[in-house]
């Protein structure tokens, strides 16, 4: 069930109504039932996976608390079990295809959200290992942590210590207030605006370029890469905002996954702003346990490479994901290696590193590096990636573009201008976020009630008028669902 569907709207309204009117004690049960119903709509058979995984981590937690002297063994066994589940469904086809046995697993479908709830589960296991007294005793709460429906498909990869206390609190306090409802609604409406007006529209263009990139010229390839960069960000941002909004209406605060990532001035900065819950997870459970930056420069670089290769593998099976991880690892290592000489040069040349021009240059370079890496997510293989890059330098198409334009079926001049306007609105909101460190609902909260309502109604109008939905329109699934 997609967030962008009538079915989901009805499901959400019914769930919220039941949730608000039911006795407090039943709230987590209601949410769990709704979450499993939501999952079953996507995949009836595979709903067993989060169910079993919850059982495994619950039992492991129990055993770690009871047999603290053997908790390491319990942790290893349970983490391996979780990882094996992920490997079986996500990587077995790829791995066995390398030894000519890929057909054995070709019928396996990737269960939606498996990467997200597996990492959440592993995070819980490690936290429990570190402090067994923190284990969750309530099975329903733990189940909800694994598969709470707003974060089931695309995260965030919430941590148990921030999520579970909220579930406990939820069963005791008054939930409904105009403020939480408004905040949640503001996040959701803005999320739908980003998804339906920007992401789904830019997808038409990026699909057009990437699906036939062999025949596209330089300008179109560059624009296609740029479009995909916008698509993957806006699509994931939209999902996150909708998820955060839904959870907020239910009185639960989820971790924000984004903090204006395309304003980053370095790749290191980027990873502090993009998919924050994943980077935090990788930092806490991979990078730091490996030694982080405490064991010398060389070891730091190795740790960075390992962490980013794991990040690449997490995103998908295939060499292109590994290469993507490698690229980001190399970006980071080069960034660290060139840091001191770069500082000396800028000092010698008396460049003002705090000037707008210098910051803009850093931001543009970072954006270009990130955009190049995203191409790997969109093409079908590593060789396609290199062909794509080669095409940019080999096939000039200025004359063709100036004669025929960049438009394609479903992406006409009108769509182009709607897209530009949408991006401009997102840009303004992002600038405000960057400068004031406040999300849209926090910004709106400072305004008079009537103004807030008018802004939200304006966004609703923009969605109704310019959103990609309805008959004859293909609603594109969220990009990160495939991961």
């Amino acid at each position: 069930m997609s967030f962008v569907s009538i079915e989901f709207a009805l499901f959400l309204i019914i769930t919220l109504c039941i949730y608000y009117v039911c006795p407090k004690k039943l709230r987590s049960f209601i949410l769990l039932a709704a979450s499993y119903y939501f999952y079953i709509q996507s995949d009836l058979v595979y709903a067993i996976i989060p169910f079993v995984m919850t059982g495994v981590i619950y039992l492991s937690g129990f055993l770690m608390e009871k047999y603290q002297d053997r908790k390491k063994v319990i942790l290893v066994v349970s983490v391996v079990l979780c990882c094996l589940t992920l490997v079986l469904f996500k990587y077995s086809s790829f791995i066995f295809s390398k030894i000519g046995m890929g057909s054995l697993f070709e019928n396996l479908i990737l269960p939606v959200g498996i990467s997200f709830f597996t990492f959440r589960s592993i995070g819980y296991l490690i936290d429990t290992y570190n402090n067994p007294k923190n284990r969750e005793h309530n099975y329903i709460s733990l189940s909800l942590f694994v598969c709470f429906f707003p974060m089931l498909l695309e995260g965030p990869i919430e941590k148990a210590k921030s999520f579970l206390p909220q579930i406990k609190e939820m069963n005791h306090r008054r939930l409904f207030s105009f403020e939480t409802l408004f905040d949640g609604a503001a996040l959701m409406i803005f999320g739908y605006f980003v998804k339906m007006v920007i992401a789904d529209r830019v997808t038409i263009f990026s699909d057009y370029v990437f699906d036939d990139f062999y025949n596209q010229g330089s300008i179109m390839l560059v624009l296609g890469a740029l479009a995909y960069s916008i698509q993957i960000y806006t699509d994931f941002l939209a999902y996150t905002m909708i998820a955060l909004g839904i959870a907020k209406i239910m009185g639960i605060n989820l971790t924000d996954n984004f903090n204006t990532p395309y304003f980053s001035r370095s790749i290191k900065d980027f990873w502090g702003r993009w998919h924050i819950s994943l980077s935090t997870w990788l930092k806490d459970y991979i990078y730091i346990p490996l030694g982080g930056s405490r064991k010398g420069k060389m070891r730091t670089y190795v740790n960075l490479m390992i962490t980013f290769i794991i990040s690449g593998i997490w995103h998908g099976s295939g060499m292109r994901y590994i290469l993507w991880g490698l690229m980001h690892g190399v970006y980071q290592v080069i960034g660290r290696l060139t840091g001191p000489p770069k500082d000396r040069i800028t000092h010698k040349l008396k460049w003002k590193v705090d000037s707008f021009g210098y910051k803009l240059l850093q931001t543009v370079i970072t954006f270009i590096l990130v955009t190049i890496s995203w191409i790997l997510f969109r093409v079908q293989s590593v060789s396609d990636f290199f062909r794509f890059i080669k095409g940019i330098f080999e096939r000039p198409d200025f004359a063709r573009v100036s004669e025929y334009g960049i438009y394609c079926e479903g992406f006409e001049k009108r769509d182009f201008w709607i897209l530009i306007t949408g991006i401009l609105i997102l840009f303004i909101v992002s600038i405000l976020r960057y400068k004031k460190s406040m999300r849209i609902e926090e910004l709106l909260k400072k305004q008079p009630c009537v103004f807030r309502m008018l802004i939200l109604l304006a966004f609703i109008a923009l969605i109704l008028l310019f959103g990609e939905y309805g008959l004859g329109t293909f609603t594109h699934p969220f990009v990160y669902i495939q991961f």
Partner: protein
């Protein structure tokens, strides 16, 4: 308590605002309705209880009756409340829609749809034609009932209830349609700028007295009669003046059956086919896109015939000079310009013997 009430009030206001936007953005994006949309927005723009004669029917009807001519020459206010391809099943809903804002003295129900068996069943799955019938109306319970009646597949109905799903992506945004109420200087009349080729003009044979309308259509006719009776005004059923030809028209027999059926029920039937000579229809040049549609010259003849009929039989009040109807007078100039334009274009087609301008 006060805070809670204010919160609830805020939510209600917000939801009402969102509903208002949804409704009016739907109206502003409705497009691709051919003549239907403009006809209906014009009808909604008429002041309440100011239309004396409402003429209900299909495209044949809105090409035959020119309300502004009735106003100019008889002082009668009338409106063509018509949609393209109006289904037999949909006619009763047009009556309900009419009665929401108008209380006409006379209702003219043109039976062209019944002559060519234009039922929802015969157009099942034809999205465009269904939308001609449904999407001209403002959103209301009546529109919902209409959709429920003519769209057989329950799973398909939602896309008609929420027609924004259909129009928003490709339709033009017309802010002038925001309220779905926009004065129509032609009062629902649409000139079809075509001249049907002369062809054969042999008088049709006698109508087959043994012909019987299919049972489902008789049922629809009964429902229409019942609804029209409930309107509480004079009702005239009209049979349009279709073209003679050697071709064996089933419409001819249908007309015979319907006329007899209605007369047996004690209804007033105006069979314009039988009085074609009195109307002055020229068999060679007076038909438009087909044998049952008309252009400006034939519309003028048919309208004047109706005007005389209404004047003689119902003694409707002449509103010319009445300040309450000043807007009708104000529309005359635009109507004259339109009429002149239609006449020139159609005359040109007649002169060169062409079917259409294209």
């Amino acid at each position: 308590m006060k805070k809670a009430l204010l919160s609830i009030l805020g939510i209600i206001i917000f939801l009402l605002g969102a509903g208002y936007l949804f409704l009016h953005i739907t109206y502003a994006t409705r497009d691709n309705l051919s003549h239907t949309g403009r006809n209906m927005t014009g009808f909604y723009a008429e002041n309440d209880n100011t239309v004396d004669v409402v003429i209900i029917g299909t495209s044949s009807t809105f090409s035959a009756y020119a309300p502004m001519l009735l106003w100019e020459e008889y002082g009668i206010t009338s409106y063509d409340l018509c949609t393209n391809m109006m289904f037999e099943d949909a006619m009763q809903f047009a009556i309900y829609e009419c009665m929401k804002t108008q209380s006409p003295e006379v209702m003219v129900i043109d039976l062209a749809s019944f002559l060519f068996g234009c039922t929802a069943e015969s157009f099942e799955g034809n999205d465009k034609v269904i939308r001609y019938n449904t999407d001209g109306y403002k959103n209301s319970i009546n529109r919902k009932h209409l959709i429920d009646t003519i769209v057989q597949d329950e799973n398909e109905r939602w896309q008609y209830y929420f027609d924004l799903m259909y129009y928003h992506k490709h339709g033009e945004i017309k802010l002038e349609n925001w309220n779905y109420s926009r004065s129509n200087p032609n009062k629902g009349y649409n000139c079809l700028v075509y001249v049907y080729p002369e062809g054969d003009t042999t008088m049709l044979r006698e109508r087959d007295s043994d012909y019987r309308l299919p049972d489902n259509e008789i049922e629809l006719l009964n429902e229409l009669i019942k609804t029209a009776d409930e309107a509480g005004c004079w009702v005239i059923y009209t049979i349009p003046p279709y073209k003679d030809s050697e071709e064996d028209l089933e419409e001819h027999d249908r007309a015979g059956f319907i006329k007899k059926y209605l007369e047996d029920e004690g209804k007033t039937v105006l069979d314009l086919y039988e009085v074609k000579n009195q109307i002055g229809i020229d068999e060679n040049t007076d038909y438009s896109s087909d044998y049952m549609h008309y252009h400006i010259f034939s519309a003028q003849k048919i309208t004047r015939y109706l005007g005389e009929y209404l004047k003689n039989k119902y003694s409707l009040e002449d509103h010319r000079g009445d300040g309450k109807y000043a807007s009708w007078h104000d529309s005359l100039q635009e109507w004259h310009e339109n009429q002149e334009d239609y006449e020139k274009r159609v005359q040109k087609l007649i002169d060169v013997g062409a079917y259409s301008e294209g």
